[in-house]
């Protein structure tokens, strides 16, 4: 115990946490000591003490701009595989995005789709929605024909191997209701289920999520929301 090199003495114990913070321990020791620290409040305090004290040296790390091409990669990794919890957050964000860029397309495609139905009464019950999302190239136009069917036209977006796009209806504060898996590269028609029909109308939100092949296994969106849009009267 006469030398402070002896790790068993009081000072040695304290030096060990500092050595851990400095990163001087071998891999196995580092892991072992790290686990001990995690499980002991006074060791955590000791660790935080050293982190805080050495932090005064942080000014010596020279700030260096990160190349711009790295952020998109980070964003893809961080946001790419989102748990279910991200659904509402995405929706809240994207709901607020005006469908401006798509407005022209909606008018054109919508007009084109409704041409066979020039009846004014029918028009009053028809709804159109532009579906798009921030950070996604998936864009759809959805037209409700006033008779229980939504016709979907894909404007852009790529098929993802091993995954399917699934359409959801969100009405009021209710949980999203699946409207089934939809193709990305062709027109399709989805017939509204009684559950969707019950709350259907202007203001209903359509959303498209990327799901495992065959659709969400849970009945709720599990993958990223790639496009959303609000049904609007024509």
């Amino acid at each position: 115990m006469s030398t402070s090199d002896d790790i068993g003495d009081f000072g040695g114990r304290n030096a060990l946490v500092a050595e851990y913070v400095l990163g001087l321990l071998s891999t196995s020791e580092h892991q072992r000591v790290g686990a001990l620290i995690e499980n002991d409040q006074s060791l955590r305090n000791e660790r935080d003490f050293w982190i805080s004290r050495f932090a005064s040296l942080n000014d010596e790390f020279a700030e260096t701009a990160v190349p711009a091409h790295l952020y998109p990669r980070i964003a893809a990794r961080v946001f790419g595989e989102q748990p279910k919890a991200s659904f509402w957050e995405n929706l809240m964000l994207w709901r607020s995005i005006a469908a401006g860029a798509l407005a022209v397309a909606v008018a054109a495609v919508g007009f084109n789709l409704i041409q066979p139905v020039p009846d004014a009464n029918a028009l009053a019950t028809q709804l159109v929605a532009a579906l798009q999302g921030d950070g996604s190239n998936v864009q759809f136009v959805a037209l409700y024909d006033g008779e229980g069917n939504v016709r979907l036209t894909s404007l852009s977006g790529d098929a993802v191997p091993g995954s399917d796009y699934e359409l959801w209806a969100i009405q009021g504060g209710n949980a999203p209701v699946s409207m089934g898996v939809i193709p990305i590269s062709e027109r399709s028609t989805v017939t509204l289920s009684p559950e969707v029909m019950a709350g259907w109308g202007a203001g209903s939100v359509l959303a498209i999520s990327l799901e495992p092949q065959g659709g969400s296994p849970t009945g709720a969106p599990t993958g990223p929301i790639v496009a959303t849009g609000t049904a609007t009267q024509i």
Binding site: S4, D40, F49, F61
Partner: protein, 184 residues
């Protein structure tokens, strides 16, 4: 804006919002702190492409671990630097040959510093410099080299041309002295 001019409170707030999965907050946090953290990975790894790889991992970790940041124990920027520094050190450690484990027995210290005390880092800038100044210049430099450059005992021993065990003894004694000074 750089970390120098971004108030600590704001960084803490951004980390908190990342814990709530706020993507816009993550982007802002990245814009405000990435130059600093890139400086950390660059200095320790001393290789630009490795540092670029590392900085990506670091921000993935920050997003994943934002909920573990406990305000008060360490300042928010110190915590972020620690995440970056630890990641870079893990990479260094992984590419080093396996060395003899130091035979260490970790016992609980009688009384660690309180979190309140640990949180005062911003107010006590310069204290570590003052205390490093009480060590012999070589030893102070070795401590700085371990912190700023991630040097191992082996690298420090060869830089100062002393046997490995001597370097360990130096460093441990220096750290004990440092602690006495910092808590005096």
């Amino acid at each position: 804006m750089s970390t120098v001019t971004t108030p600590s409170r704001e960084i803490a707030d951004l980390i908190g919002r990342c814990a709530l999965r706020d993507r816009a907050a993550f982007r802002t946090l990245y814009d405000r702190t990435s130059a600093k953290l890139f400086g950390v990975t660059l200095r320790i790894l001393k290789d630009r492409s490795e540092a670029e790889e590392a900085i990506q991992e670091v921000y993935v970790k920050i997003w994943q671990r934002a909920d573990r940041y406990v305000a008060g124990n360490t300042s928010p920027i110190s915590w972020l630097v620690a995440v970056a520094r630890n990641h870079a050190l893990d990479l260094l450690r992984a590419r080093r040959p396996v060395s003899d484990d130091i035979d260490v027995a970790l016992e609980v210290p009688d009384g660690g510093p309180s979190p309140e005390r640990a949180a005062q880092d911003s107010e006590e800038k310069g204290q570590i410099e003052k205390c490093l100044g009480t060590l012999e210049p070589d030893r102070a430099d070795a401590v700085r080299g371990a912190y700023l450059d991630g040097y191992s005992y082996e690298e420090l021993a060869s830089r100062y041309t002393v046997p490995l065990n001597t370097m360990r003894t130096w460093l441990r004694r220096s750290l004990i002295k440092l602690k006495e000074c910092l808590t005096a």
